[in-house]
């Protein structure tokens, strides 16, 4: 594949269809500028600032843009909140839709056939494989990303974190916590 992609790139460059420096910049963007740290900042802000959380639940796209995160695969954001009663889990059964501006590119398992096929029919089995146990009374709500709406899970704030500031809280938020395969 490395050779085929290289051949494709040189052909497209020769024909003036892509600029190799632009490709470098795109790779750099996805390796260094987006990733779960962005989403973690959104979550930590929501935990510490009730007015921000209200805006996030009302219009997530705008509230996320307040922190400087926007762009493709994040054009229509919806935040779903975990509570003791409901646990949210995000999947894309038809392809691999994922909120790039806040989580970066998805991990291989998220894009894989096993996750895409099983998250909707056996969410509790999938959660168990991630080591995630739910309280018996908790409902599971699976969000299948079939349109251009992209979902971000707002995890429950861990107990005993009352004294932590926003930056310390952001450090506790994991990618899987924002997909819903983990609880924090």
């Amino acid at each position: 594949m490395a050779l085929r992609v290289k051949a494709l790139e040189s052909l497209l460059v020769e024909k003036g269809l892509v600029d190799p420096a632009a490709l470098d910049a795109i790779v750099d963007h996805f390796e260094h500028k987006v990733g779960p740290r962005n989403g973690a900042r959104v979550v930590a802000r929501a935990w510490t600032d009730p007015a921000y959380k209200a805006r996030l639940m009302e219009d997530a796209t705008s509230a996320i843009a307040e922190l400087g995160y926007a762009g493709g695969q994040g054009d229509h954001m919806v935040v779903v909140e975990n509570t003791p009663k409901v646990h949210n889990l995000v999947v894309c059964t038809l392809c691999s839709c994922y909120p790039w501006p806040v989580l970066g590119l998805p991990p291989v398992w998220y894009k894989s056939s096993p996750y895409r096929s099983r998250a909707v029919i056996d969410p509790r089995g999938v959660l168990q494989e991630f080591g995630t146990e739910l309280p018996p009374e908790t409902e599971v709500m699976v969000w299948d990303s079939t349109a251009e709406i992209r979902y971000l899970v707002l995890p429950e704030r861990p107990a005993g974190t009352e004294g932590l500031d926003e930056a310390a809280l952001a450090g506790m938020v994991t990618r899987n916590g924002m997909i819903g395969t983990a609880r924090l």
Binding site: M1, A2, V5, K6, A7, L8, E9, S10, L11, L12, K15, G16, L17, V18, D19, A22, L23, A25, I26, V27, H29, F30, E31, G35, T61, A70, G71, G72, H76, T93, L94, S96, G104, L105, P107, V108, W109, S113, P114, R116, S117, R118, V120, I121, P123, R124, E129, F130, T138, E139, V140, M141, V142, W143, D144, S145, T146, A147, E148, I149
Partner: protein
């Protein structure tokens, strides 16, 4: 189309296998492939791109990695749009005398382009047919073309959870037939409605479905 990409609810595809400390790209070519897709002149229509990947023959689709599918979809798109020829692809060289285009994206445009807020929301004259709380049934549609109505909800009863406004309709847009926007709703189905009495009575699945996929129940 009822191809293997529509895999919600299938069994037998193996265990979920998370990797520890996974890197963004596993090989340099994956990053190049991802970037080529974003910079490509065929990028404009996301639905057509998805349809190209779901038309990869099922046995190949299941075998291929994510970026191998993107390569296949990109090549198909470039050929379909006449941007490259099969001979050029085979040789990796532009045909003699082929016109030279100007790239859509230059390096200094990348951050702006990737951070630009786009929208699939459109104004439509029609009022939404359904309100939050309405009971609906997903239609039993089996189009040969592109659709975002998964098989596992067809014919099933659900409830409107949220109204999303009118969005570009993939079933039309993927085929170059225009955006044809329709009202979009989050529709909630109970796990028991989808998977039968053995399913957990506490659980639900919510999908974003366009009005033409739904009928009043």
């Amino acid at each position: 189309m009822n191809s293997v990409h529509d895999m919600g609810g299938m069994h037998g595809l193996g265990p979920v296998a998370p990797e520890a400390d996974e890197s963004v790209f596993h090989h340099a070519w994956e990053g190049r492939m991802h970037a080529i897709n974003i910079a490509s002149p065929t990028r404009s229509n996301i639905d057509a791109g998805r349809h190209r990947r779901e038309r990869i023959p099922g046995p190949d689709y299941l075998r291929m990695t994510y970026y191998e599918k993107w390569y296949a979809g990109a090549v198909e798109g470039l050929l379909t749009h006449g941007l490259v020829t099969p001979d050029e692809l085979a040789s990796g060289k532009a045909a003699p005398g082929a016109p030279k285009a100007t790239p859509r994206l230059s390096a200094d445009m990348v951050e702006g382009a990737l951070g630009a807020r786009g929208s699939y929301l459109r104004e439509v004259a029609s009022k939404p047919m359904f309100l939050v709380g309405d009971a609906v049934r997903a239609r039993n549609l089996n189009p040969l073309g592109h659709t975002r109505l998964p098989r596992y909800v067809r014919g099933r009863l659900g409830v409107i959870e949220a109204a999303r406004g009118a969005h570009v309709f993939p079933d039309s847009n993927a085929h170059g037939l225009g955006e044809d926007p329709h009202h979009l709703y989050a529709v909630r189905f109970t796990a028991r409605e989808l998977w039968g009495e053995a399913a957990d009575p506490r659980d639900s699945v919510c999908l974003d479905l366009w009005e033409p996929y739904l009928e009043r129940a």
